[in-house]
Symmetry: C2
């Protein structure tokens, strides 16, 4: 019975006290009898669990906790807001990142005006239970400025170089995406004449044959670290080479690492890779 | 002159008003004359910049802003605290993530007791200038419990399966690290007898020859999406296969994706890959 009710998880509304409600449009083709059963089930189980969860959060004196939205594939921090009980309850029931606006004293779901919702896959609490991560997939740019994330203002690099106080349009980038961005920049500069020796990335971008031969060579070196029982550090180094060269290929094909990770997530959430490969091998 | 003063960035202290001070141990072998020059330089430039930066943050009524520490390589959110002017100024000067403890009303640098500092590479502000990311590399586990990050309590999955309110020991994992963790789990179970057909990951882990042959095959398929001008979606799909199979090899060699990314970052921060490859090719 529990399983048959899971389709209700998405549309049902959970109030901050843990009460469930359904809007009439949520029922779809299900019979009233089935609905009633679910409601009874939900009242005795689901509601308690939501209430227990909401009670377990250490809300501050204003009833708020920090809520951080993070991209499930890339790890990018998309935005940070605050959640109260209602915002967290709404996020749980709607699976869309919802916050409490301190300036407007109201709930708001990211995307309610832009349609760029953040589809929440998982919710995490920190050890103090006063900080929440909404781990999810954004439908589009998160920032109201149109930027991919709200964190595009870099301050420390500017301090280091003593050039300007603040650099705008510098999205926070972790290693993989910083590399992706560098490669993409080199690709954009391909038409610009260069003085001096071309960078290695430029050469690879201009010569697909060279690129593919390097990718095959690097992967061979990676395999040999296992086959010939080489040092761990060699494996890390060769894998870095494989990643870099493969990412140049991705850039040429206009494929983002995020697209690749999305494929990986979708396959793995269905145990798809294992299933597919096993079939291939056995078939 | 500006460049010659950069070695002072690390040891100098920046107060919340933007004033600099040096402890006597910071001077090292530098002559008094050189120091004085730098101090003059710093007063007129660096101090203004730090003050401008600190002024540009939208501190709340308690003088605080949310500060999130994120792993520069993996993107993992390590912890979240609050910063005041002094905490941000200290982070800038010491390059170690520093917060303001609301319960103890004092500054604290993560790692001051555990020695697990977070070495800050970059600092970002969000579009509202009231939220800060410290992008850095942790020296060890960030959480006081010994966990890698403070976010190891998953709540949504438990709600979905209606099993328990809260799952502990479930670190927040984005796609790549979730896959890494699954592979690592399969590796840990290798000694446990399995009923039914083994999973594909298990077969690969048990048969290095099969694994290496698959890695070479998948990378060949990836290259052919470029050589034969196949659909973008094929490229993403083949790259996902390459990543997955290569990560099984990493697991066998006990190499973490974080180690690989660290190699990549270190090479790229020195334009190392390009430099090394170029040398190899020209040499």
């Amino acid at each position: 019975m529990a399983v048959s009710c899971l389709h209700f998880l998405q549309p049902m509304k959970v109030s901050s006290r843990g009460r469930l409600s359904f809007s009439s449009s949520d029922y779809g083709g299900y019979s009233l009898k089935r609905r009633s059963t679910c409601l009874v089930f939900a009242s005795s189980n689901k509601l308690d669990k939501v209430k227990t969860l909401l009670d377990s959060v250490k809300w501050d004196e204003k009833g708020l906790a920090v809520a951080i939205a993070q991209n499930v594939d890339t790890g990018a921090i998309l935005m940070q807001g605050f959640a109260n009980r209602d915002a967290l309850a709404t996020t749980i029931s709607s699976r869309r990142a919802t916050f409490f606006s301190r300036s407007r004293s109201t709930l708001w779901t990211k995307g309610e005006t832009s349609n760029n919702f953040i589809n929440v896959h998982d919710i995490y609490l920190d050890c103090d239970r006063d900080s929440i991560i909404y781990l999810g997939k954004p439908d589009g740019p998160t920032c109201h400025t149109g930027a991919e994330t709200c964190y595009y203002t870099r301050v420390s690099a500017s301090l280091k170089h003593l050039e300007s106080e603040i650099e705008e349009n510098k999205l926070t980038q972790t290693t993989l995406y910083s590399l992706e961005s560098t490669i993409s920049q080199r690709k954009a500069e391909l038409d610009v004449p260069q003085s001096g020796a071309p960078s290695w990335t430029r050469r690879l971008l201009l010569d697909s044959k060279l690129l593919c031969s390097k990718i095959r060579e690097e992967v061979d070196e990676l395999c040999r670290t296992l086959e010939e029982n080489e040092e761990k550090s060699r494996t890390a180094s060769e894998m870095a080479d494989v990643l870099y060269h493969a990412m140049v290929l991705l850039a040429l094909k206009d494929v983002k690492m995020e697209d690749v990770l999305q494929v990986l997530r979708q396959r793995f959430s269905q145990s798809g890779i294992e299933e597919k490969r096993s079939r291939k091998l056995n078939g």
